[in-house]
């Protein structure tokens, strides 16, 4: 089973393994292990990146990488916390697959998280004249 395989292969890296229901599995890893884990998911286990959710928790940033296993219908939700609020950074996944390109650009402009190694980290949805260092999905954002 794919659940057991992930648990076995990533035993050392995984924290807070939660099976909310048989189709929704959540767990946390360190940001330095992200790329290796994603390579394993995509290349070896043939999981598909559904999307990435970025959340501002006020004390830190949280990214949830949603990986879908289309054979079993399970959704593996890989949580990464970025504790440096002033300079949030994480590795880009663009050299592994194309699907993260626009997703990362959106998170970058909405939450101000930098994706290291992204080929074109420019605005996707917001206008180019949008003021710098103003990120609309941060909780401390104000309209003034």
């Amino acid at each position: 089973m794919i659940k057991e395989e992930i648990k076995r292969r990533l035993e050392k890296n995984i924290k807070d393994w939660v099976v909310k229901n048989p189709k929704r599995i959540y767990f946390t890893i360190e940001s330095k292990d992200l790329k290796e884990t994603v390579k394993l998911f995509y290349q070896k286990m043939k999981l598909r990146l559904s999307t990435v959710t970025g959340i501002d928790n006020l004390t830190n940033f949280e990214l949830i990488y949603h990986f879908s296993c289309d054979k079993t219908g399970e959704l593996f939700n890989l949580r990464v916390f970025l504790s440096d609020r002033d300079k949030p950074e994480i590795d880009s996944l663009c050299d592994i697959f194309e699907s993260s390109n626009w997703v990362e650009r959106e998170i970058h402009e909405m939450l101000g998280i930098k994706f290291k190694g992204h080929p074109n980290l420019t605005h996707l949805l917001l206008d180019d004249t949008w003021p710098k260092n103003k990120y609309p999905l941060r909780k401390d954002y104000s309209n003034e």
Binding site: N21, S50, G54, H66, S68, G73, L75, F97, S99
Partner: protein
């Protein structure tokens, strides 16, 4: 080698119903590169949802798209139900499925019409949209609206389908079959459609997987994914239907997948009507506790993804929405270059980017007083057609 030139399409262009900007870089007739710029239609609905009550969000997300309008509230409701760990009554499941499949029918017919229009085959456009009209009429009968049905609710559905409406649904589906067969035959037989769409805009399976494309685009490239089967929601696992997959990855395969899918949708609707039990249509939900949930729905364009997080208050603190077009549109970067400019229009349209078209409108003064009714607008439009006809006859 001829000189490189740039052909801008958009942000506002007669071929496009919605603003988006494509920069075609061409050498002579051949497209060698493509740049895509979006964001002209950004409305910040994720941010907006954080300021709405749990029960108001379905109305907000329903307005993300005017075509697959029920997929978003459906996915949102599934996400909240996932958080709560509740199930909805069986009758509500079937009503949700009927609405979802009717929506797929009208969306695919709309796309088929547009595809015909883009290759300059306006007969298909007229036929497809004529066949789509009864589906919209049915929506009006069941829900009161042709678009934005407001049927989905956390814990069930907002409205029941009345017993006296069953015959109308059955009749519509029965009458649609021959039309669909005609489309299938036309696509298979017509040499012009084949010439324009075969071996054009090919997306290989490897590229499809790398771009993470969804829905009919993925299935036309031989990638067998469908959330309805893979992560079965509602009661899709209790009805008989099959996932349509083609290997070629060209425009023709994309047309074929959508046309054949419509037969499956008709079959699902018929089975639902036979199976639907009497009973409640919602499970009462009072409070939403802290937690998180994910809902996935196979929209006509592919997997529609909603993530919500609650802190126990009456609003979501985070609501992430990923519509299928966000994954599908970037695949144009590999499907458009290498072909001619005239193929670009149909290739760009083949991913079915979410075009929003509302067919009824009313003009309002600032005081809120209506100055033109729907009938008056139609009358105006007919008068203009008559006038143009007369001018043409004079010549």
């Amino acid at each position: 080698m001829s000189e490189r030139r740039v052909i801008p399409i958009g942000p506002y262009h007669p071929l496009q119903e919605e603003p988006e900007f494509f920069k075609l870089i061409v050498e002579g007739e051949r497209v060698v590169d493509l740049e895509i710029e979006i964001g002209y239609n950004h409305r910040g609905i994720e941010k907006l949802a954080e300021a709405k009550h749990w029960d108001q969000v379905p109305f907000a997300v329903e307005r993300i798209c005017g075509i697959c309008s029920t997929s978003h509230p459906f996915a949102y409701c599934l996400a909240v139900e996932d958080l709560l760990g509740i199930t909805v009554p069986e009758r509500a499941h079937y009503i949700r499925m009927i609405i979802d499949e009717l929506q797929r029918l009208h969306s695919h017919l709309l796309w088929l019409g547009l595809a015909g229009h883009f290759i300059g085959y306006n007969t298909i456009w007229m036929w497809a949209w004529k066949a789509r009209e009864p589906v919209l009429d049915l929506f009006e009968l069941i829900t009161g609206n042709r678009q934005h049905y407001a049927m989905m609710k956390i814990g069930g559905v907002r409205r029941d389908i009345k017993d006296e409406n069953y015959p109308a649904i059955k009749k519509m589906v029965k009458e649609l079959y021959p039309t669909l067969k005609m489309f299938a035959k036309a696509v298979n037989d017509d040499p012009i459609i084949q010439k324009r769409t075969k071996d054009v805009g090919i997306l290989s399976k490897e590229q499809a997987i790398s771009f993470g494309v969804l829905g009919p685009i993925a299935r036309a490239s031989g990638w067998d994914i469908d959330v309805r089967r893979d992560d079965s929601y509602a009661l899709y696992d209790t009805v008989k239907w099959s996932v349509i997959v083609q290997k070629e990855g060209d425009i023709y395969a994309k047309i074929l997948v959508r046309v054949l899918e419509m037969f499956e949708s008709c079959s699902i609707i018929e089975q639902c009507l036979n199976k639907i039990p009497k009973g409640d249509i919602e499970t009462e939900v009072r409070d939403i506790p802290a937690g998180e949930g994910i809902g996935r729905v196979e929209a006509p364009r592919g997997e529609c993804f909603h993530y919500i997080r609650s802190d126990g208050t009456n609003r979501p603190i985070r609501h992430k929405i990923r519509a299928p077009s966000l994954m599908n549109v970037p695949s144009n970067l590999v499907t458009v270059p290498g072909y001619t400019i005239s193929d670009a229009a149909i290739t760009l349209a083949a991913v079915d980017p979410c075009y929003c078209c509302t067919e009824r409108s009313a003009a309002f003064l600032k005081t809120g007083k209506k100055i033109l009714t729907g009938e008056e607008l139609v009358k105006l439009s007919q008068e203009k057609t008559e006038q143009l006809k007369k001018e043409y006859d004079k010549k």
